[in-house]
């Protein structure tokens, strides 16, 4: 027994060492940019960031880059990103929950076929649909004189549509695990399918909805392509502005760095606060 413990103790130390090195490597890029975002332009230009790391007392630290970044449009972009992300998270979940309910508890013709198409759509690259959708919207706004492109709403619709297959799939899997006897009992008591959905199935599915909501939130918040095509310049989201800043870093790296960290704050908070649900959602999807 003693021998066994010694043996695992050695493994323990070696593992810790190996992981420390690996985590160190993993953190270098982020630390580099974080330090740069906290320096003055005059310093960031002439000395590399590790000067700040190894000699923290001899470095001038400042929040000037954050101020610059926020006042030159990042604040507007933050608002735009929130306005795109929140509905683009709630809408697909609502639509998917309804559809998953139909797939789980109602019988209808062609159910299997619908479901096969749904699974197929999960993997089809969204690029294969974007140009026709864009052209369709342009045609629609010319014909009916209702602006669609360049508005938040168009991004909500497109994000919702592309989130649906995976959302329906995950929610259906979860709903399959709910006790059917409860739903049958409610049926017998004369509840309509509509009432059963809103009063019984939806509240019971909250764990699955929550974990998918985190995914969808992070996905939309971090998306560039759909925001670029459907929202664009007028209401530019943060990824859009960041990419423009990266293209013209004559302004200096510290502003780009500060901009990146402003765009990272919300996902990081969501991530660290809800990590448990996030991990649960991930493992539910891939591990049987």
């Amino acid at each position: 027994m003693n021998k066994l413990r010694n043996f695992s103790g050695k493994v323990n130390l070696g593992s810790t060492l190996a992981l420390t090195i690996l985590v160190g490597i993993w953190s270098i890029p982020t630390i580099g940019l974080l330090i740069t975002s906290l320096r003055l332009r005059s310093e960031a230009e002439i000395s590399p960031w590790w000067d700040g790391f190894f000699n923290p007392l001899g470095t001038v630290w400042s929040l000037e880059a954050y101020q610059n970044s926020l006042s030159s449009g990042m604040l507007d972009s933050l608002v735009n990103t929130i306005a795109v992300t929140v509905p683009a998270t709630i809408l697909p979940l609502m639509i998917a929950a309804n559809a998953a309910y139909a797939f789980t508890f109602l019988n209808f013709k062609g159910k299997e076929l619908f479901f096969a198409i749904l699974v197929g759509l999960m993997v089809i690259p969204l690029q294969s649909a974007l140009i026709p959708v864009l052209k369709g919207m342009v045609w629609f706004q010319r014909t009916f004189d209702i602006p669609l492109t360049g508005t938040y709403a168009s991004a909500w619709v497109v994000h919702s549509a592309f989130a649906l297959p995976l959302a329906i799939y995950i929610l259906r899997n979860y709903m399959l695990s709910l006790p059917t006897s409860l739903i049958e009992a409610a049926r017998v008591d004369g509840a309509s399918y509509y009432q059963i959905f809103w009063k019984l199935v939806l509240p019971m599915s909250i764990p699955a909805i929550a974990s998918f909501a985190i995914f969808q939130f992070l996905w939309v918040w971090n998306d560039y392509l759909i925001a670029f095509i459907f929202v664009g310049e007028q209401k530019s989201v943060m990824t859009y502005r960041l990419l423009r800043m990266l293209g013209q870093y004559g302004e200096g790296w510290q502003d780009v760095a500060a901009g990146s960290f402003i765009s990272l704050i919300v996902p990081l908070i969501v991530f660290f606060a809800l990590q448990r649900y996030f991990v649960r959602g991930l493992t539910a999807g891939a591990v049987k």
Partner: protein
């Protein structure tokens, strides 16, 4: 301030309207005679999803397939058969792009899964508190956008012209090896070195995901099987290779396919870091370039259809996994 109020207003309208649609659909169906409404019930829940999927996914994908056989210039469009495809496959640049895609597929999923398995296994031995810290730090990049990840890494790869102070870590390392006046490393396309530098970003982003899934699988391995092997005198490497690995292989493959699909569609990183220059372009970026820069709808559609065709086998794989899981239920 006006923007914020408008934003909140838009959010509320959007959500109320969507709830209203479901209420209305249900109300309309309840007006029908009982016999029909029993059968029509399903449409009250399914219609919005179906309409959205058909209009925004299914029809557009078919439309793209049709356009890939056409030449579209302004208002004029005509059938050209396979000409768009023929042009692509006789273009050496495009063949280089396919090569790049192939390299991405070959390198990224394998490395991601390997490092992920390594971290999952190692962190299993260090006790719960350290495990949590290590895992969080490796997992953290998962929450970052591809664009922000590109800024982080572009800074690492940053090039300073001769005579200017070196601020990029990579350039500093290269000069440390005694190379004087190095070229910008993202421009080195010998052996596709620059593509590998871009792949590093995706590995950095995705290892956390693979670690989480594989770690969950490793923790589900029955303790008795490991204990039995240890008593029989197996060392840590044997325990891992002969006992743990075979039992988590299914999860590893699931992660592999997921990362593979993601890598085939890789786009933002190329756009942000090289704009496809210096032989780093891939299919999804080529699609973007051909439509948004050259406004050539026909050939952009052909590029994306090639991507779809390459991904189709994976769809089949995915459907099979789904069926398999269903059987286990």
């Amino acid at each position: 301030m006006g923007d914020i109020i408008f934003g909140i207003f838009a959010i509320i309208i959007g959500i109320v309207a969507s709830y209203g649609i479901y209420w209305l659909l249900n109300f309309l169906i309840s007006l029908l005679p009982r016999k029909i409404s029993e059968k029509a019930n399903v449409f009250a829940f399914l219609t919005p999803a179906l309409v959205l999927l058909i209009i925004v996914s299914i029809i557009p994908v078919i439309q793209t397939a049709v356009w890939s056989f056409m030449e579209i210039k302004g208002k004029r469009s005509e059938w050209v058969g396979l000409q768009n495809y023929a042009e692509l496959f006789s273009d050496p640049n495009f063949l280089g792009i396919l090569l790049n895609n192939f390299l991405w597929i070959l390198v990224v999923p394998a490395i991601t899964v390997t490092i992920g398995t390594l971290v999952a296994q190692l962190s299993n031995n260090v006790g719960p508190r350290r495990e949590k810290i290590f895992k969080s730090l490796i997992f953290m990049p998962m929450s970052i956008s591809f664009v922000a990840a590109s800024t982080i890494w572009a800074y690492l790869y940053a090039y300073s012209a001769p005579g200017r102070p070196v601020i990029g870590l990579a350039q500093n390392v290269i000069e440390g090896f005694g190379v004087t006046d190095p070229v910008p490393i993202l421009q080195i396309d010998d052996f596709r070195i620059n593509s590998f530098l871009l792949m590093a970003v995706v590995v950095w982003l995705q290892v956390g995901y693979s670690m989480v899934i594989i770690s969950a699988a490793i923790k589900a391995v029955p303790e008795e099987t490991i204990e039995a092997a240890r008593i029989d005198g197996a060392g840590p490497f044997q325990v891992f290779g002969r006992i743990i690995l075979p039992q988590v292989w299914g999860s590893i493959m699931a992660v592999f396919v997921t990362v593979l699909i993601l890598v085939m569609k890789i786009f933002d990183i190329i756009l942000a870091m090289t704009r496809g220059n210096f032989n780093t372009s891939v299919l999804a970026f080529e699609w973007y370039k051909r439509y948004f820069e050259n406004t050539d709808t026909g050939s952009a559609s052909a590029v994306v259809m090639i991507l779809v065709l390459l991904i189709t086998p994976l769809v089949w794989l995915q459907i099979r996994t789904v069926k398999h899981q269903e059987m286990l239920r």
